[in-house]
């Protein structure tokens, strides 16, 4: 699924307190591309991700995903768009503490499929948690929790995966393992991935690296042959 942004602005606040988080962003991302968005805090990375995920609206400009103009979507259509097209992975995992790993994934699987439990088990096995699926989040390590979060994002088989600092809370080894997982799965399922991080080393695993500063794209680099995430160092 292609992603296309044209002249996108996002402004928070009004009047003299207004802050432009994104300024006139133009971007075209083909289907299956793994894009890493780099930038310091406050550069607009997460805002960009949120706009593509339709959990926030642009102030100006046009965002089209798979030919759909997100600005034209009503509240219910935004929900449907997210449900059918987008998988989110958050920095803080955001798992439901009262549900087991399998149930956290199943909860989302049920939104789009009738065989949610089977699909959840399948995806959890894919992320290496077949033997941990009946554990509750508090019984899992940080890396395991993030893998559950990835499984939750993938279970709907969304064409777009949006990852916001997915390794921000993890140690180096675990972080690298998570990135490898994301890389493998996105290649396998031909998903378009937007991954936000402040860690520039992660850019080496991406097909494309966007650098943002103060809401503007200051660099747009394509990698012809990105390295395997497992080989990253930082």
């Amino acid at each position: 699924m292609t992603i296309e942004l044209a002249g996108v602005w996002k402004t928070f606040g009004e009047g003299h307190t207004a802050v432009n988080a994104l300024k006139d962003i133009d971007l075209k991302g083909p289907q299956g591309e793994f894009t890493v968005i780099l930038g310091p805090s406050g550069s607009g990375k997460t805002t960009l991700l949120n706009l593509v995920g339709a959990i926030d609206n642009a102030t100006r400009g046009r965002i089209e995903v798979g030919g759909t103009d997100l600005a034209q979507l009503g509240v219910d259509e935004q929900v449907r768009y997210r449900r059918e097209n987008v998988g989110f992975v958050f920095q803080f995992f955001n798992l439901i503490p009262t549900l087991t790993a399998a149930e956290n994934v199943e909860l989302v699987a049920d939104l789009t499929a009738s065989d949610g439990a089977a699909r959840a088990a399948e995806v959890l096995a894919k992320v290496g948690l077949a033997d941990r699926m009946h554990h509750f989040p508090a019984q899992l390590s940080g890396g395991e929790q993030q893998r559950v979060a990835i499984a939750r994002a993938l279970v709907k088989q969304p064409p777009i995966l949006l990852c916001d600092e997915p390794t921000g809370e993890l140690d180096f080894e675990t972080g690298r393992m998570i990135l490898q997982l994301l890389q493998d799965i996105s290649r396998e399922q031909e998903q378009t991935v937007l991954l936000v991080t402040h860690n520039s080393a992660i850019g080496d695993m991406a097909d494309r690296v966007l650098r943002l500063r103060s809401g503007e794209i200051v660099d747009d680099t394509h990698h012809a042959s990105p390295i395997a995430a497992g080989a990253l160092t930082w």
Binding site: I55, R82, T98, L107, D110, A138
Partner: protein, 785 residues
């Protein structure tokens, strides 16, 4: 100068305004009710006490026996200040077309009596020596529109004698116009009091004084004097002896005021407990959410004491904001209630004092409840380890399968979202428990209030429909032959008439005495039923006396034990107790006519007749027809009495209605806070679910279901505890005058439960609206959502 920490405190409160307002209002209500009820109670008791002193209300009244000897004996007692002999006689009055049971009380013709003085509100105290000029009691004057110069008739001997109203008077003995302890509720059409020159009273009785009224120094009770005089008076043949506390009017009023005292404790306790729990839930959540801030404070050099004090502030502020105005409004309201009460009951003296202790006590109660609620979370805050706290939010619970899933395995297969709902119930056990306690408290308040309505309605139906089955009671001018009673059936519209003989009697057993009325009824009476406390409905036994159940505890006796009944003429009869009956009003003694006549050795007359109407008969016509009969002194329509009681109940219903509204407000405050916190605590979960495409209404449904499940869990417990509380609250009103047996209609349980669920549902609305305002991008990115 306001410190940054204080600014934080106020801003935090501002951010959680609705929750803190809910706590403040609950404290306000609790403290307000305390102030209003306690000061009203204190003022009314003070008013009664002062009235008793100013009007020299008798400490002891002795009827019957050797009056002169009793008076002499009393006068010799060192603690006795005044003794008065007088004549008291029940005699028919005729005011225009209405005949009623009158009571003539002898008063000195030269000056006010030294005991039981009168407050002459219109006209003058009769000192002209004319025995036919008298004072009428305020209630009777008011009902019949009597004033100075008016006249009515009193039956003296066989002839009606016209008397002139010299004035209208209030008496401490008839503030509540009760005929006697067994007949607390009368209609003004049926009973009235006149204070007549002693000469006229003696003319009516045809003998000398028959009562001694005794006033102790300063009007103060003295148990030793009372015991000594009572014992001596009984030996001198006294038949009816009662202290000021037992005096019918005073007793009825004291029982009534006792309700305010109960209210001053029971209701505020519930409100303050509810406010405390709401504050606890709210402040615990704040502390949990602010762990990183607390860590930062501590890391930057704040002392644990400072942190403790800071979080105690979250309890102190709503405590002060609720308690100060609550106490002021309560105390002011008490003045209004006192004046309203004394004016409705025509209490001669109204004392409205300002009691600093109530004001300060009320504020202290409110503040202490709120600060205590804040203490546990504040202590937790002060004990936080800075390094740990700054690492972020600790996981809120490990998560586990719900009890329901473990008990009912098929529930494990319900959709995941509903499993989340089930598990949410046990996620924060303490909060769940507090919400359940909130529901229990709310149901208690509702059931205690509503239970009172149901019980009193049931009590009235039981007394006036099931037990007293007569449509009217006809009182005769004197002892009347039973044949005359039978003749009443000949009157068109009268279906049945039964003779009744009512005699004042002292029942004694195990050294205790109880003055009551003995009612002799036909063995097969159809118009009065007997509800045996152990065996349900029974017939009047062939042998033995049937007693009201209050005597069982008073005498410590059981069925089969013997009691002695002493009649006014001094005649004593021993009889076994055949049964104890459950009668809501009064504590009477009953025997069958055959047995009574066998004991007397002669046939007995009737003093009244119980009559039943033909279906469709006009009560008004019957009243006119029957009261025209010369032997008839008064006609009491049971329906009028029933309606009168219903009218009295309106104030009671209004009070209970207010309590129900307050209960609803309390339930709302408590449940609202618990629900708000529940929703606030899972903001990130909600945002995550929204981000993955779950509809807001689905999330609202899950959360609503979870909260309603918690509320529903509290209902069975609330119904049980509410019923026990209602029973205890009503039990405190039980006396020989009233027996309150709790009765709550099944529909009351149903409606009370539905009302609480409705409140729980409504109280979620603000929280669920907040879900709509959740900023997904902000929340999913924040460490502490």
């Amino acid at each position: 100068m306001v410190s940054p920490l204080q600014r934080k405190l106020w801003r935090d409160i501002g951010r959680h305004k609705p929750q803190f307002i809910a706590i403040t209002i609950t404290i306000f209500l609790g403290v307000g009710i305390f102030g209003a009820a306690w000061d009203s109670y204190t003022n009314l008791i003070a008013s009664y006490d002062q009235t008793a002193i100013d009007y020299r209300f008798a400490n002891l009244t002795v009827a019957g026996g050797d009056t002169q000897a009793i008076a002499d004996l009393a006068a010799a007692e060192p603690r006795v200040e005044s003794v008065e002999m007088r004549t008291m006689v029940d005699v028919p009055f005729r005011i225009e077309d209405t005949k009623l049971l009158g009571r003539a009380l002898g008063i000195p013709s030269s000056e006010q009596p030294s005991v039981n003085r009168l407050d002459v509100s219109a006209g003058e105290y009769p000192t002209n020596g004319d025995p036919s000029t008298l004072l009428v009691e305020d209630h009777m004057a008011d009902h019949f529109g009597l004033g100075p110069g008016d006249s009515f008739d009193i039956l003296v001997g066989d002839a009606w004698q016209q008397v002139t109203v010299g004035g209208v008077a209030l008496s401490p003995e008839y503030i509540w116009p009760a005929r006697d302890r067994q007949d607390i509720i009368t209609t003004p059409d049926n009973f009235g009091v006149a204070f007549v020159p002693e000469e006229l009273a003696e003319q009516i009785t045809g003998s000398g004084p028959n009562e001694v009224v005794i006033y102790y120094f300063g009007g103060e009770a003295d148990e030793a004097t009372t015991l000594s005089l009572t014992t001596a008076a009984r030996e001198l043949g006294a038949i009816n002896i009662y202290t000021r506390a037992e005096q019918p009017s005073n007793n009825a009023l004291t029982e009534d005021v006792k309700g305010l005292e109960e209210m001053a404790v029971f209701f505020p306790m519930m409100f303050l407990a509810a406010a405390g729990m709401a504050a606890y839930v709210m402040i615990s959540r704040l502390v949990h959410a602010q762990r990183p801030h607390i860590g930062t404070f501590l890391a930057n050099g704040f002392t644990r004491g400072q942190v403790l004090r800071h979080y105690l502030g979250y309890g102190l502020i709503p405590g002060l904001l609720g308690a100060i105005p609550g106490a002021i409004v309560g105390v002011l309201l008490a003045r209004l209630i006192t004046r309203l009460y004394t004016s409705i009951l025509s209490i001669p003296l109204t004392i409205v004092d300002f009691y600093w202790t109530t004001l300060l006590g009320a504020i202290a109660f409110g503040v202490v409840a709120s600060v205590l609620a804040a203490f546990a979370p504040a202590l937790v805050a002060s004990r936080v380890l800075p390094a740990e706290a700054m690492r972020g939010e600790t996981p809120s619970g490990g998560g586990r399968r719900s009890l329901l899933e473990r008990l009912i395995p098929p529930l494990r297969r319900v959709p995941t979202a509903w499993r989340m709902t089930l598990r949410g119930v046990g996620r924060n056990p303490r909060r769940t428990i507090y919400t359940i306690i909130g529901v229990v408290l709310s149901l208690m308040l509702v059931l205690v209030s509503w239970g009172m309505i149901d019980t009193v309605r049931n009590l009235m139906d039981r007394q006036f429909v099931e037990i007293q089955r007569e449509d009217a009671t006809v009182f005769f001018t004197g002892p009347t032959a039973t044949d005359d009673v039978a003749a009443l059936v000949a009157i068109d519209g009268v279906a049945a008439a039964e003779p009744a003989l009512t005699l004042p009697v002292t029942v004694s057993a195990n050294g205790e005495h109880y003055e009551t009325a003995l009612m002799v009824l036909p063995d097969d009476t159809e118009l009065h039923r007997f509800a045996d406390v152990d065996n349900g409905w029974i017939d009047l036994p062939q042998r033995g006396v049937v007693l009201g159940q209050a005597t069982r505890d008073l005498f410590d006796i059981e069925v089969g034990d013997s009691v002695t009944m002493t009649l006014a003429d001094g005649l004593s009869v021993a009889a076994p107790v055949a049964a104890f009956v459950d009668e809501p009003l009064g504590t009477m003694a009953y025997v069958g006519r055959t047995q009574a006549e066998a004991l007397a050795g002669t046939s007995l007359p009737a003093t009244s007749a119980l009559i039943a109407y033909d279906e469709g008969a006009s009560a008004a016509t019957l009243r006119n027809t029957i009261t025209e009969l010369t032997q008839v002194a008064a006609f009491e329509d049971a329906n009028v009495l029933y309606d009168l009681m219903q009218r009295f109940m309106i104030l009671f219903y209004a009070f209970v209605g207010v309590m129900l509204v307050f209960g609803g407000a309390m339930a709302f405050a408590l449940i609202f806070n618990a629900m708000s916190v529940n929703i606030a605590e899972r903001t990130r979960e909600v945002a995550t679910l929204l981000a993955v495409g779950t509809e807001r209404r689905s999330i609202s449904r899950y959360i609503t279901a979870e909260n309603m499940l918690v509320a529903a869990m509290g209902i069975p417990l609330g119904l049980v505890i509410g019923t026990l509380a209602a029973s205890a609250a009503l039990g405190s009103f039980n006396s020989d005058l009233f027996t309150f047996t709790l009765y709550i209609q099944p529909t009351t349980y149903l409606f009370a439960s539905l009302a609480i669920l409705a409140v729980a549902l409504i109280s979620q609305v603000p929280g669920l609206r907040a879900i709509r305002r959740i900023s997904i991008p902000k929340v999913v990115k924040e460490r502490s959502a």
